[in-house]
C-alpha cells in the first residue's frame, strides 16, 4: 500500500511539473539561462559562477529554497524543474512500453499456443532467437539507427526526437521475456480439465478463448506489469544515459544523470537527484509487483493461511 502511495505521489509531482516551473522555479527548464541571476537569502547571485580555481564557470549549487532548489545544470537550467519534467517522460515511456510489451506478448503467446502446429513452431522459434539476442545490444542498435535518422516507413514518418522511438524499442525488446511464459501457460491451460470439459460440451474455440483462457492470461499479465515497468524504467534510463533515448532539450531521468556526469565532482546534486528518483520509483514498483503477485496467486494466499 505504501508503495502505491509513493507511486501516486511521484506521478502527481511529475504531472505538476509545468506548475512548478511557472510558480516556483520561475524559469524555462528547456532553454539555457547562462547569464541570469537568482536571489538567495536577500542577495543576488549569478547562476553561472566563476569557479574557485578561476578556470571556467560552475553552475549554482542547490539553494534548497524555491528557485534552483537542486541547483542548475551546465546550461543554467533549474534541475528541480527538469527533474519533474524528466519524470514525466521516464514514466510515460516506461508505462507505454509496458503496455505495448504486455499486449504484444499476450497476443503472441496466445496465438502461438492456441493455433499450434506450424504457426506455433515459427513463433516459438522467433522468440528463441530474440531470447538469445543480447537485449541491450538490440535496444542500443535499434536506438542508434533510429535516433540518428528517424524512421520513414511508407506513410509513417517518425522524427528522431520523438518519444515514440524509445517507447516502441523498449516495448518490443522485452516481448520474448513475457511471451514465452504466456505461451507455456496457455499450453498448460489448454490441457486443464475445465477446458477439456468445455471442449466436450462443444463450446466453440473462440468462446473457450474468451471465457477460459483470456481471464487467466490477463491475470498473469497484470502480475507482470509492475515488474516490467520497473525493468523498463531502468532500460529507459540506460538508453537516455547513452544519449540514444530521450533527445535534448527534452529531459528524462537518464538524460539528467548524463548532464550531471560532467558536473559530478563540483555539483553532484545534478546527477544524484535523478538517480534517487529512479531508485525510489523502481523500489516502489517492485514492492507493488510483490503485492500484486500475492493478491493474484492463490498459492501465495494459501501459504499465508497456513
Amino acid at each position: 500500500m505504501l508503495a502505491l502511495l509513493v507511486l501516486v505521489a511521484i506521478i502527481a509531482a511529475c504531472l505538476a511539473a509545468p506548475w512548478y516551473a511557472r510558480n516556483i522555479s520561475q524559469s524555462d527548464p528547456f532553454s539555457s539561462n547562462l547569464d541570469g541571476s537568482v536571489t538567495v537569502a536577500g542577495q543576488s547571485v549569478d547562476i553561472m559562477q566563476s569557479s574557485d580555481t578561476g578556470f571556467g564557470v560552475t553552475p549554482i549549487g542547490p539553494t534548497w529554497t524555491g528557485q534552483y532548489f537542486l541547483g542548475a545544470d551546465d546550461q543554467g537550467r533549474d534541475v528541480a524543474a527538469r527533474l519533474l519534467y524528466g519524470g514525466r517522460s521516464s514514466l510515460l515511456i516506461a508505462g507505454c512500453a509496458t503496455f505495448i510489451c504486455l499486449t504484444l506478448a499476450g497476443l503472441i503467446g496466445i496465438v502461438a499456443a492456441f493455433s499450434g502446429g506450424f504457426v506455433d513452431s515459427i513463433l516459438a522459434r522467433l522468440l528463441d532467437i530474440l531470447w538469445a539476442f543480447p537485449v541491450y545490444l538490440l535496444a542500443i542498435s535499434l536506438s542508434a539507427v533510429l535516433i540518428s535518422h528517424g524512421l520513414k516507413l511508407g506513410p509513417v514518418t517518425v522524427s528522431s526526437d520523438s518519444l515514440l522511438i524509445p517507447i516502441t524499442i523498449i516495448g518490443i525488446v522485452y516481448v520474448p521475456y513475457v511471451a514465452r511464459p504466456i505461451r507455456g501457460q496457455v499450453l498448460s491451460l489448454a490441457r486443464t480439465d475445465f477446458v477439456l470439459a468445455a471442449k466436450c460440451l462443444g463450446v466453440p474455440r473462440s468462446r473457450i478463448l474468451r471465457k477460459d483462457i483470456l481471464p487467466n492470461v490477463i491475470t498473469t499479465l497484470i502480475v507482470f506489469a509492475p515488474l516490467m515497468m520497473a525493468l523498463n524504467m531502468l532500460t529507459e534510463a540506460a538508453l537516455s544515459f547513452l544519449s540514444i533515448g530521450v533527445q535534448p532539450p527534452a529531459a528524462s531521468w537518464g538524460t539528467i544523470i548524463l548532464d550531471g556526469e560532467g558536473l559530478l565532482y563540483t555539483r553532484p546534486a545534478v546527477a544524484i537527484a535523478p538517480g534517487v528518483a529512479i531508485m525510489v520509483t523502481v523500489v516502489a514498483l517492485n514492492f507493488l509487483g510483490d503485492g500484486v503477485r500475492e493478491a493474484f496467486d492463490p498459492r501465495a494466499r494459501l501459504r499465508v493461511q497456513k
Binding site: A132, S141, A237, N286
Partner: protein
C-alpha cells in the same frame, strides 16, 4: 545454435543496412555530401551491391579472412581490437561474479534461516534497493565518493585513478583498479540472487525430503547446506550462466563507460557513437556467440547438478 547465430547476424545486418531512412553511405560521407561523393563512397565501401552480397561479404571478412576493417578509421582491423578488449571485460566480470556469488549466497542463506524476522526483512529490502539502482548511476556515485569527496580520507586513498591496468603488467594495481567496478557491478546481482535464493530456500525447507532429513537426525546445518541449499542452487546456476554470458557478451557496457575500462562494452559504445558498422557487427556477434555458448554450457551443467534432469534423458 548455429541457426540462432546466423539469424542474429542477419537481424543486426538488417537493422543497420536496411532500416528505412538509414543510409550507411550518407553516414560515412557526412551530412550534406554531394550525390557524386555519395556514389563514390557507396562504391568504395561496396554499399552499391545488393544486400545479400553485402551480407555475405561482411560475414566472409568477419569469420573467414578475419580482415574486416573499420568504416570510420580506414585500415583499423576490427578483430584484433575486439580480442584486445576481451581480457578487460573478462577481468571485470569474473571478479564481480565472485563477489556477487559469495554475498548473494551469504545473504540468501541468512535471510532464509532467519525468515520473517527483522534481519530477513532488512536484508530483503536492501536487496530490492540494490536491484532498483541504475548501475551507471551507482558507478558515478562510487566514483564521486572514492575519487573526489572521500579520496583524501584513509578509507579510499588507495583507490587509483579511473582506468585499467593489465594483469600481466602489474597484478596488484590491476586488482586495485578493479575493486570499485567489481563492487558496483556486483550490487545489482547480489540483490537479484539473494532474493531468488531466499525464496527457493524457503520453499525447499517446506518440502518432504527436508522433513525426512530432519527426522533421521541430521543437524540443522546439514539440513540447510547439504539438502536445501543444494536444491536451491540449481535455479541460481542457470541464472548465473545467463547473466555471466550477458555481461561478458557486452552487457557490462554501462559500467565500462562510467569507469572508463576499455572492454568490449566500451568498444561497442564507441562504435555506436560514430556508427562504425563493422565494429558494431563484430561486437554484437562476439556477444551473441558468447551468450549462446554459455546458454548451451548451462544446459549441460544442469544435467550434472540436477539428478532429475539426468534421469529424464
Amino acid at each position: 545454435m548455429v541457426f540462432v547465430l546466423v539469424s542474429i547476424s542477419i537481424l543486426v545486418f538488417l537493422i543497420f543496412f536496411a532500416t528505412p531512412g538509414a543510409d550507411p553511405a550518407a553516414r560515412i560521407a557526412g551530412r550534406g555530401a554531394s550525390p557524386a561523393t555519395l556514389a563514390a563512397v557507396r562504391h568504395s565501401f561496396g554499399l552499391d551491391q545488393p544486400l545479400p552480397v553485402q551480407y555475405a561479404l561482411m560475414m566472409k571478412h568477419l569469420f573467414i579472412t578475419q580482415d574486416l576493417t573499420s568504416f570510420v578509421n580506414p585500415g583499423q582491423l576490427v578483430i584484433p581490437a575486439v580480442l584486445q578488449a576481451v581480457p578487460v571485460t573478462l577481468s571485470l566480470v569474473f571478479g564481480a561474479a565472485i563477489i556477487w556469488l559469495i554475498f548473494a549466497i551469504l545473504f540468501g542463506v541468512i535471510a532464509a534461516a532467519l525468515r520473517n524476522t527483522v534481519i530477513d526483512r532488512a536484508l530483503m529490502f536492501l536487496a530490492l534497493v540494490g536491484v532498483s539502482m541504475p548501475v551507471f548511476w551507482l558507478g558515478e556515485v562510487a566514483n564521486l565518493i572514492t575519487q573526489a569527496r572521500f579520496h583524501n580520507t584513509l578509507l579510499f586513498s588507495w583507490v587509483p585513478a579511473l582506468g585499467y591496468v593489465p594483469l600481466t603488467q602489474n597484478p596488484f594495481l590491476w586488482f586495485k583498479s578493479l575493486v570499485i567496478p567489481w563492487t558496483v557491478l556486483a550490487v545489482t546481482y547480489i540483490g537479484l540472487y539473494s532474493r531468488v535464493l531466499r525464496a527457493n530456500l524457503v520453499e525447499a525447507l517446506n518440502e518432504d525430503y527436508i522433513r525426512t532429513a530432519r527426522a533421521k537426525g541430521l543437524s540443522e546445518r546439514q539440513v540447510v547446506f547439504r539438502h536445501a541449499l543444494r536444491m536451491s542452487l540449481i535455479t541460481l546456476v542457470s541464472m548465473f550462466g545467463l547473466d555471466f554470458g550477458f555481461l561478458v557478451g557486452g552487457g557490462a557496457l554501462l559500467i565500462e563507460v562510467v569507469c572508463s575500462l576499455p572492454g568490449v562494452g566500451m568498444l561497442t559504445y564507441q562504435a555506436l557513437q560514430n556508427l562504425d558498422l563493422p565494429f558494431i557487427m563484430a561486437t554484437v556477434m562476439y556477444g551473441a556467440i558468447f551468450i549462446v555458448s554459455t546458454n548451451t554450457a548451462v544446459d549441460m551443467l544442469y544435467v550434472l547438478i540436477d539428478p532429475r534432469a539426468r534421469d529424464a534423458r
